[in-house]
Symmetry: C2
DNA sequence: GCAAAAGTGTTACCGGTACACCCATGT
DNA sequence: ACATGGGTGTACCGGTAACACTTTTGC
């Protein structure tokens, strides 16, 4: 009896698609895969998956992420649901996009390569199936919004990083060159990063102090990092 | 053949729920209904509906809005999908929340009353079924975000309105008293509203100029109305 | 005249921007 | 010594907040 309350109403295939961002080589990149099933097999797409009977959308996205880059407990946020009845050519699927942030150095790259995944700079995306380009565009907007209200970097940079690296990350995310002097002062004024005694001498003779996020870092309301 | 591509993957009931905001009596209000089916029949809830086979989520939300307040073409925006498998006690439904803005003076109030709908101030919401309180909280955040980046009011105020009314609307949306002098100067600096020759003498002896949105008003990027 | 809301003006301060400048060091 | 990126200082400008003040008009 209880299980038939909503009979008569249609049931629909529900999926998730993951916009996986990383920061590498001074660029913000997105992980794409050649689609492995028809229709449009072989075309570039986000990694996705159907939602199981006992999974939330977030559970499903986490599962896809683990199967894709081999990581658990990574930052992830819902972007939007995409539901045009004809968004896939043959059969109807409602898909919710998520974006995730992962560090370039710690994901399972063998796993990625096994599925023929490739990282594309956000500025040089290939044509994508269905509405996946729109998903990426909206995911980027969300990421920019996040980055303008709180410090990103913990999820995208190595544990220890220089302020110049953080500056470059912001440049990549916003496709804009923030003044190094002002950027560094802004970060200092937030009083959230911890300076370590160590220096990075990889990219300069003088060496630059390395910083870390405190273990208990929680984004504070009301900080406004960049204009937007 | 084409129609059996995704067999094996579960299909799920999909619904929408509408957070309908209006501005009335100096307060931001939300339209709630006593739920008319089991489970939890009679408890307060948002108005919602199942998504049809050939409808997008947006289509379904528009349909619910028309059935609820008798209006087409009203402002509406997706908030988020809610998908915990146990969010409803008996049967699984994934629901996507939308929020809508309507003018208090033009909706079909007989229709609302026929369904026993009631307007609740955002500050005095009753207990709600399932995760509907969360939906409203997230919808309010979205509304605040919108209001901080562009001028709201066209969707919530009468066609002609005074700057004091607009000021009060912002006060209600943010639960904060913005300085009338500064607010009025801020609005003027945006150069978007048009002053009419008419005055409203309802609430003051002196009378206040009425303003309108231009017919071709498009929110501009980058305007920042209030802090946030 | 007075109350009440509309509307203007004044000032102090803070934060962002632009840009010049110094610092440390490997070659 | 000098080039290179790291890091600091300064001067200006615009927006914001707080609040005093003027205007209009019904009672």
């Amino acid at each position: 009896m209880a299980k038939t309350r909503y009979t008569g109403y249609p049931k629909i295939h529900v999926a998730v698609d993951c916009v996986i961002f990383t920061y590498d080589d001074g660029q913000l990149k997105v992980l794409l895969y050649p689609r492995n099933i028809e229709p449009r097999k072989g075309d570039w797409s986000l990694m996705g998956g159907f939602v199981g009977d006992r999974e939330s959308l977030e559970d499903a996205a986490r599962r896809v992420l683990e199967q894709t880059v081999g990581l658990r407990d990574i930052f992830m946020e819902q972007v939007s649901a995409f539901s045009q009845p004809d968004r896939e050519p043959d059969e109807r699927v409602i898909s919710t996009a998520f974006y995730a942030l992962i560090r370039n150095d710690i994901h399972n790259s063998e796993l990625v390569e096994a599925h023929r995944g490739e990282w594309f700079p956000i500025t040089e995306l290939p044509p994508l199936i269905f509405d996946h380009s729109k998903m990426i565009a909206m995911a980027l907007q969300r990421l920019q919004n996040k980055a303008s209200h709180e410090l990103i970097g913990r999820e995208l940079l190595p544990r220890k990083f220089t302020l110049t690296q953080l500056n470059n990350l912001y440049n990549a995310v916003f496709q804009h060159t923030f003044d190094p002097g002002n950027f560094r002062k802004k970060i200092a004024s937030l009083n959230v990063l911890l300076q370590t005694p160590d220096k990075d001498t990889g990219s300069s003779k003088k060496g630059a102090y390395l910083y870390v996020f405190p273990h208990d870092y929680e984004p504070k309301d009301f900080c406004r990092i960049v204009k937007v």
